[in-house]
């Protein structure tokens, strides 16, 4: 069942939150040894919260669509009294005294916390091949990565271990695992969801958001997470209560969808290209107008984003890297070292260029409602694979994986990642809809219409049926 279907079942009294929670805990016990999607399971807390949700429901209280729904938090969101490692050895014994804002909000919405999900070390990478806690496995093929850094959350949702996973996205960390695991995730507009209590990586690029099976699942989850928070200086004065698309969206008439002629569709796997174009044509069938256009060179935007992240992450890790250098994995240590070497003048110039790029994208998104592009140029690579051949060229897996998502973080624009189909070998293909600032409602409506028209989210990995 999807999150929305489960909510309906709970409201109709067909199932209790306690029963759902027990089922999820049983699935975690059975499947997590193969997936490594959960780092910490909080069974006692989950059972207690589920019983509370059932008691409230019996007394006539309904906290909303997440009331009694079993969820999991990425292990970089602080949870009071529950270890929060950020997938690192540095924070191996870190037990916060407070909840992160989204943990707090989801608890207030009645969600049941099953535990904390595995992630790439410090959220600084996309493989989730964690040197301290082991590799996370893709439910569609256990030999492959789930993507990252929120790979545990995406794997858990895809395998049916939970109905919602919280994620963070600094350079694609929600959208990449959504793409590789065949689930849905949204990187909201910068500031829409509070980052209070989220262990930072790149403070001007970090975004928090949901990963769930369907667009409507993501819509209700985002609505529960979003809203102003004085504790987060980047928090926008925006609420997002009403994001759920209608049950039926018969037409996309009047919607203009931009299809970039450059960058986003260059050097991508042929099957990915075909699947994402097919989704664009489905949108056209539904009445949307496809508008071919050109975007600024994405390599430039990626450079701006990469310099910003390298320097900000080096600044964030300054207190730890000097004294606890040996506690870092090789790949993350190298990235932090690179950030320490980059001159301050480059960071400042990157911010100037970033502002300019924001203006250009703003004008592009005045012409169209959104851009429809692939989320990743490839499908999930194997665990341990470092290079991939695309269109006859060999590329670093990390660079290839983040190539189409990284720059959007520098723009702060919302981007919805959702399934666009499958390869002949049965691996999920992901696309993204990039929209205007605070245009989540429209993005989710377009996404839901496409989801209804294609039914890709109905297909599940074999492990989900076990």
């Amino acid at each position: 069942m999807t999150l929305i279907e489960t909510t309906q079942a709970l409201r109709a009294g067909k199932v209790s939150s306690a029963e759902l929670t027990e089922e999820c805990l049983k699935r975690i016990e059975s499947l997590n040894p193969r997936l490594n999607a959960f780092l910490t399971v909080t069974a006692e807390i989950a059972r207690e919260q589920a019983l509370q949700a059932d008691r409230e429901r019996r007394s006539g209280m309904d906290r909303g669509p997440l009331h009694g729904i079993p969820i999991a938090h990425k292990d970089l969101f602080c949870t009071a009294g529950v270890r929060t490692t950020s997938g690192s050895k540095v924070f191996e014994n870190h037990v916060p005294k407070f909840d992160a804002a989204i943990v707090e909000r989801l608890r207030e919405a009645g969600a049941v916390m099953l535990g904390k999900t595995s992630m790439h070390e410090h959220a600084y990478g996309i493989t989730c091949d964690n040197p301290h806690y082991g590799a996370v496995h893709n439910p569609w093929d256990l030999a492959r990565i789930p993507g990252g850094s929120s790979g545990g959350a995406a794997a858990a949702v895809a395998a049916g271990l939970c109905l919602l996973g919280t994620g963070s996205d600094t350079g694609g960390s929600i959208r990449v695992p959504a793409s590789y695991c065949g689930v849905t995730g949204i990187k909201p507009t910068f500031g829409l969801v509070s980052k209070f209590g989220a262990l930072p990586l790149g403070f001007s690029l970090d975004h928090a958001g949901p990963i769930a099976r369907t667009v409507r699942d993501v819509a209700v989850s985002l609505a529960a997470m979003a809203g102003p928070d004085k504790r987060d200086p980047n928090s926008a004065h925006r609420h997002a209560d009403d994001l759920l698309p209608p049950d039926e969206i018969p037409s996309l008439a009047g919607v203009k969808i931009g299809i970039p002629e450059n960058f986003f569709y260059e050097r991508i796997d042929l099957q990915v290209d075909n699947a994402v174009h097919f989704m664009a044509y489905r949108a056209q069938d539904l009445g949307a107008e496809l508008v071919p256009l050109r975007v600024p060179d994405g390599r430039q935007l990626n450079t701006i984003s990469q310099i910003t992240l390298l320097v900000e992450a080096a600044a964030v890790h300054e207190p730890y890297i000097r004294k606890q250098r040996k506690l870092y994995g090789d790949d993350v240590r190298a990235l932090i070292d690179m950030g320490r070497v980059i001159p301050g003048v480059d960071y400042v110039q990157a911010q100037r260029l970033r502002r300019r790029a924001q203006e250009v994208y703003r004008s592009i998104l005045m012409q169209v409602d959104c851009l429809l592009v692939p989320a990743t140029p490839i499908t999930a690579p194997n665990i341990g694979q470092t290079e991939v051949a695309i269109g006859g060229e060999t590329e670093d897996v990390r660079i290839a994986t983040t190539r189409l998502v990284r720059g959007i973080n520098a723009l702060g624009l919302p981007s919805l990642a959702m399934p666009a189909g499958f390869t002949r070998g049965g691996m999920p293909i992901g696309m993204q809809l990039i929209g205007r600032a605070f245009g989540e409602k429209e993005l989710l409506r377009i996404g839901a219409a496409l989801e209804d028209a294609t039914g890709h989210t109905k297909l599940r990995p074999g492990i989900a049926g076990e």
Binding site: T189, F190, G191, S204, N234, A236, R238, R299, Q300, T303, I304, Q306, I307, L310, A334, D337, M338, R340, V341, I342, P343, D346, V348, Q349, A350, Q351, R352, L353, R354, R355, R356, Q358, R362, L365, M366, L411, G412, L413, G435, R436, A437, F438, G439, E440, K441, E442
Partner: protein
């Protein structure tokens, strides 16, 4: 081009071939991008973290 190895050595950081390649690539791209900078821009703007403007409605 910058001498990354010397800069890193000054900070007691050891640069691998892969790191060097990445840094050189970023440096090269930034050199090209400097042509796009608006040098008349008010520097104070850079002290404010860019937040997306509200255009959805």
């Amino acid at each position: 081009m910058r001498d990354w190895t010397t800069t890193a050595a000054g900070l007691k950081i050891e640069i691998t071939e892969k790191m060097l390649k990445t840094l050189e690539g970023l440096d090269k791209n930034m050199l090209g991008l400097r042509g796009l900078i608006d040098w008349q821009e008010e520097p104070i703007l850079l002290c404010t973290m860019p937040a997306p403007e509200d255009e959805a409605e």
